[in-house]
Subunit: 111 residues, 2 copies
DNA sequence: TTTTAGTCCTATGTATTGCAAGGTATATAA
DNA sequence: TTATATACCTTGCAATACATAGGACTAAAA
């Protein structure tokens, strides 16, 4: 079910604060979404190639420097669209959850 | 983004009312979710084979009889799990949307 | 100088999802 | 009897998303 949500969640994250890969993994973990390196690096690269993200090299207190990703203007626009899609999906589910049960579930079932 | 949501939406639908394929397509359309035959028949068959759905043959006012699908007890249990997963996902997104913007988005971007 | 920790990356594989296209069967209407 | 409308189904494709596994580079610590 979470399929396809990762991109949205990452853009939401980056809207709030520039972050590098391990950062993002940690923050998503806090938000109850488990991701691993092998998932996130290709995704960040893809989003950068599509022009939705850009990055700054920033020194690490230890080891290799970090790529801090931020939203580009195009990324911000794209996020607006994703927000709309998410709202629509939420509404769809809400509507379906609110349907009244009209017929008992256990009559005349043929397996 | 809607990927993987279809199963959930169909189970929600069937919880409320037994339905056959074209019925389901129509109701999902009303709920703003477009689906076509080639998508739904394999899915219904899969869910039946997994024991989540069962069906009754019911005469059609015209043409071939219809398979009215209903949730099995196992399907109802499964739906409980999906509801939980959906709640968690909603919470995750809500949390990420509520993050405060802490750093401007347009400084020092290297493409 | 070697080890360790942190950071980046790619290639490949797996699984799934949803769709397009084509096919079969039933029943009524012309 | 043929045509039409309704209903079911299967096969195979395309996309994609995520994970696994491996590798390489940098800098500080031992």
């Amino acid at each position: 079910m979470r399929k396809g949500m990762l991109e949205y969640c990452i853009l939401l994250l980056l809207r709030a604060e520039a972050s590098y890969a391990n950062d993002i993994i940690e923050k998503l973990k806090e938000a109850q979404l488990l991701v691993v390196e092998g998932t996130i690096y290709p995704l960040l690269t893809r989003l950068k190639n599509e022009g939705l993200l850009a990055y700054n090299w920033i020194e690490s207190p230890r080891g290799a420097p970090r790529k801090y990703y931020t939203l580009t203007p195009k990324g911000s626009e794209w996020l607006v669209g994703l927000n709309a899609a998410w709202s629509e999906l939420s509404n769809t589910v809400a509507r379906l959850k609110d349907l009244k049960v009209t017929i008992p579930e256990n009559e005349n079932i043929n397996l």
